[in-house]
């Protein structure tokens, strides 16, 4: 909400629909987190993370459809750039969600390695900043 829709689209390289799906999934996720933490619905962390995984899956499916349609319209350059950018963003987001869920669910990563879990988040702002600098030139 701190940027206009057009600015956010330009910066993040995703459509309004994709942002909307992300926000819906975050909203559902926070509701489930509150229910789990307050012990109202004691489910596993994998269940709590389902909205986030579903959101990423839906956006991946949407991106593939857009890629196929652009490819059929012989707009190869746009299709290639778009699918590569979406794949990069979704991979980073999914990786972070998966590692965090694994950490919370089983605590399989040894203590003192939250930096491993957060490593995709270190890359994400750098990639977005580079994109902003490139697109402004």
């Amino acid at each position: 909400m701190l940027y206009t829709k057009k600015e956010a689209e330009q910066w993040l390289g995703m459509t309004v629909f994709e942002m909307w799906v992300h926000i819906i999934s975050i909203l559902l996720f926070t509701v489930l987190v509150a229910l789990k933490v307050e012990n109202i619905w004691p489910v596993s962390w994998w269940t709590v993370f389902i909205p986030l995984f579903t959101g990423v899956g839906m956006i991946a499916y949407f991106s593939v459809i857009v890629f196929i349609r652009l490819f059929l319209e012989h707009d190869f350059k746009t299709a290639g750039f778009r699918v590569l950018w979406s794949a990069l963003l979704l991979t980073l987001i999914f990786l972070f969600e998966y590692l965090l869920c694994q950490k919370l669910a089983a605590d399989s990563i040894p203590q003192g390695h939250y930096s491993q879990v957060m490593s995709p988040l270190f890359v994400l702002p750098i990639v977005l900043g580079i994109r902003a600098c490139v697109s402004s030139n």
Binding site: I23, T30, A34, Y114, M118, L128, G129
Partner: protein
């Protein structure tokens, strides 16, 4: 302020915040959560000042110099969103720093309420079909008003000959009244 500057500022602050959080969770558990969230406070302060300056200049001049700028309503909404963000972050820090360890109880629902308000506003604003739905509703209301008015005048003119047809398509009550008055 140009978009690229704003984006680079946001990215740097986000990166700084993630690093601080990783350090807090891995190496320095005694760090205060309010200190860890310092980049978020800077971010909020920066955007609040920016928005308030723009809002004040908009109110003073009556309009924005830039034609692509946000409307007055959007600016007011953005300030409200920032306020919700402030409240959520402060409440989360209070919960993490003072409540959990001290035996006091603060429900996660209270902490999350500002975030849910913020996200619901974003959901409504970003709903992909909101502009189309709004224009469709306006158009439907307008056409239904026009068609009901024209149908009633037509049925009044035609009289009992079109009564069967108007009955099947669900005519306006006024036309039914006119039909009965004609037939009698």
């Amino acid at each position: 302020m140009p978009l690229s500057y704003r984006i680079v500022c946001s990215c740097l602050l986000a990166l700084f915040f993630f690093i601080m959080m990783a350090v807090k969770l891995d190496r320095k558990p005694d760090w205060n959560w309010f200190l860890v969230c310092l980049p978020l406070w800077i971010f909020n302060l920066f955007f609040s000042v920016l928005l308030i300056i723009r809002l004040v200049s908009h109110l003073r001049n009556g309009r924005e110099r830039d034609t692509n700028a946000m409307s007055l309503f959007s600016k007011g909404l953005f300030i409200f969103v920032l306020l919700m963000k402030w409240i959520f972050e402060i409440m989360l820090c209070i919960k993490l720093q003072y409540v959990d360890g001290g035996g006091k109880k603060l429900s996660m629902f209270f902490v999350f309420i500002p975030l849910w308000i913020l996200l619901l506003i974003a959901v409504v604003r970003l709903f992909p079909w909101t502009p189309e739905v709004m224009s469709l509703i306006k158009r439907n209301v307008r056409t239904s008003e026009v068609s009901s008015a024209s149908r009633s005048t037509q049925s009044m003119k035609r009289g009992p000959t079109t009564s069967g047809l108007s009955n099947t398509v669900g005519a306006h009550p006024r036309s039914v009244g006119s039909r009965s008055s004609n037939s009698s």
